[in-house]
Amino acid sequence: MTIKLGTQDLTNEIFKRQAEDTEFQSRLKGLTFNLLLVGTDNPDGNDWQYAIELQKGQFVNVGLDVKPAPSDLRSTSFDKENFDAKAISDHQTLYELVSGKLDLVNAITKVKIEGDIGKLMKQLDGFIGFLGFLATMDVVP
């Protein structure tokens, strides 16, 4: 079954895997980060935003917001009380990143990141592991 990036389907699949898949649980181990992830200009002409709350290696909540592009989701300002960082990039770049077609070094140069970059860097190992797991899922644009 394919899963579209920037939809509730991906969120549901992640929560399902988190509950059932020990490899997935192992990849997330120790990650504590609240991230706003914004993909702009998806194939349906929308921007989307995942509001990801990851605590002690578990997805606690993942909110999804979808708005017609160009939307206010791509604004770099965000609620720093509730989120550590906001990452914004075009949908295609994020798709290539999570499907393993684009490596992290090349993706970083195409993603705008605001917020606590130090905290993000300290947990990069975990995020790389998580991205590696996503690449094994059948994510489509």
Partner: protein, 141 residues
């Protein structure tokens, strides 16, 4: 006494620490990468290059070259049989990076990278650890 960036004196100090300091040995653990690292427009009007051969967490060899700026060292082409990647950035950016004034994510926007970025991505957490270690040393421009 400070160690000037991209010079024999810094190279020799790192080699010494590699033999003597378990913390550095731990940070380097698992890293295997052959990297050309070029800092342009260093003090004294020169470009400087490190030719780093890191195997299984140990610096095997680190060659140091310098040439009056602008030099051939900033040419992006390199021998891909001998090195995995070449990173070229202005000396001040690289100095800010190794002294902890600039984080790695921000630095990626300011440097030019050629080569096997997938291999570099996979080992990024290790490089971050090494850069953190460098920031504890007394490095001068």
């Amino acid at each position: 006494m400070g160690f000037r960036l991209f010079t024999e004196e810094l190279r020799d100090e790192i080699m010494k620490k590699q033999r003597e300091d378990p913390e550095l040995q731990e940070k380097l653990k698992g890293l295997t990468f052959r990297l050309l690292l070029v800092g342009t427009d260093a003090p004294g009007g020169e470009d400087r290059q490190l030719a780093i051969n890191l195997q299984a967490g140990k610096f095997i060899n680190v060659g140091v070259s310098k040439d009056p700026a602008p030099s051939y060292l900033r040419n992006a082409s390199f021998d891909r049989m001998k090195f995995d990647a070449k990173v070229i950035g202005d000396h001040q950016t690289l100095f800010d990076l190794v002294t902890g004034k600039l984080d790695l994510l921000s630095a990626f926007d300011k440097v030019h990278i050629e080569g096997d970025t997938s291999k570099l991505s996979a080992q990024l957490p290790g490089f971050i650890g090494f850069i953190e270690y460098l920031s504890t040393m007394n490095i001068e421009p």
